[in-house]
Symmetry: C2
């Protein structure tokens, strides 16, 4: 699959690299510098290249949206027409200082994004784990018990694409239901961030849902 990365920072850069290693063709776009994009493309060893957001969108089977919330409008404008595209978003609706969610409870970042691009197929995923754990999970992907990753959305075919990418990255995809469940998952993301960055044991944190006593 061709995957366009809209926002090649900590999350987008690492996930794009992982998707490239998993065999996908990845276009990295929208980083602080062109050098960063070129380095990411080089490290992807034949499966990656640097481009503009418009080039990332072209022929993409899926787009990963991984920009700070304050950059959403800018990157969408540069991306152009997203009708019918699968948009996997891990962008949390944080304020400029990254202290709190500016959309919460009565809506979610994923739902607000959908209002901006109603003809795209938005799936919320990859926001509930810190970027620091991604390579570790990918390296451990052949072990028996993978960590979970929750995702949600209103478009079933888009969700199937997202689930495939989640699996490619070494996680066990957990369908949490419709897009409005992002109201919970985005808050869960802040809990995971609290445990990862303020708790003991380091930021390489993932989670697994398990059943007991059935």
């Amino acid at each position: 699959m061709r995957i366009g990365i809209l926002g090649s920072g900590l999350m987008g850069g690492k996930l794009g690299t992982i998707f490239a290693r998993a065999g996908h063709e990845v276009v990295f776009s929208f980083a602080r510098s062109n050098d960063k994009l070129k380095k990411l493309a080089r490290d992807a060893q034949g499966n990656g290249r640097a481009g503009t957001p418009g080039e990332a969108v072209k022929e993409a089977g899926a787009l990963l949206l991984a920009v700070h919330w304050s950059r959403i409008d800018d990157v969408l404008k540069q991306a152009g027409d997203l009708s019918g595209k699968v948009i996997v978003t891990c962008s949390l609706p944080m304020d400029a200082g990254n202290t709190k969610l500016i959309v919460a409870n009565a809506s979610s970042g994923a739902e607000e994004l959908t209002k901006k691009i109603p003809r795209a197929r938005v799936v919320s995923a990859f926001n509930t784990v810190p970027s620091e754990v991604l390579f570790g999970v990918y390296e451990a992907r052949r072990k028996a018990s993978r960590p979970s990753l929750v995702y949600c959305g209103d478009d079933e075919s888009g969700k199937a694409v997202a689930a495939e990418l989640i699996r490619d990255a070494g996680f066990d995809p957990i369908d949490a239901g419709p897009l409005r469940i992002a109201r919970y998952t985005e808050q869960f993301a802040l809990l995971v961030g609290q445990l990862a960055y303020e708790g003991e044991g380091g930021p390489e944190l993932a989670y697994r849902f398990e059943r007991f006593g059935k």
Copy 2:
């Protein structure tokens, strides 16, 4: 330890039973009927008895608050003076129809509870797993890898008591920080509820945080 159960419904009844089995002296109070309280006490086999909320509070080393949010004021009034008491709350601030949180984002149920009983030592715990998983986790408590249970609070000695009860119930206590983190954990509770009751696999759901790739 003597543990008073304020609200002996699905969560309070099961957790009280587990605390009794773990060797604590449990007073069950505040259920729909006195018969329910007497049955819980009988099933606790020597370690439990039925009482009023006032009796549950008397000499208690910890109180479990497990009532529907609409009953908080009633049970607190019946409980009497809670100064200095450790209150472990699993009550989520749900509306009457259990469809959504009526306190969220800018505050949490645990913080609102603290405003009502400022001299008590409030810890938020046990709200992030469904009641259906409790006996299964307790039965599996000697296995190598226990499920996690997040808790938070502003009183360190109260948190130590809560951590002990979490361990007694078969979980691995995860300190999520100050009480305001309940803003995230209460939303996480709704995510777990969504997966447990709307997802596939049944409601016997727990979670474990794990580190990868250190």
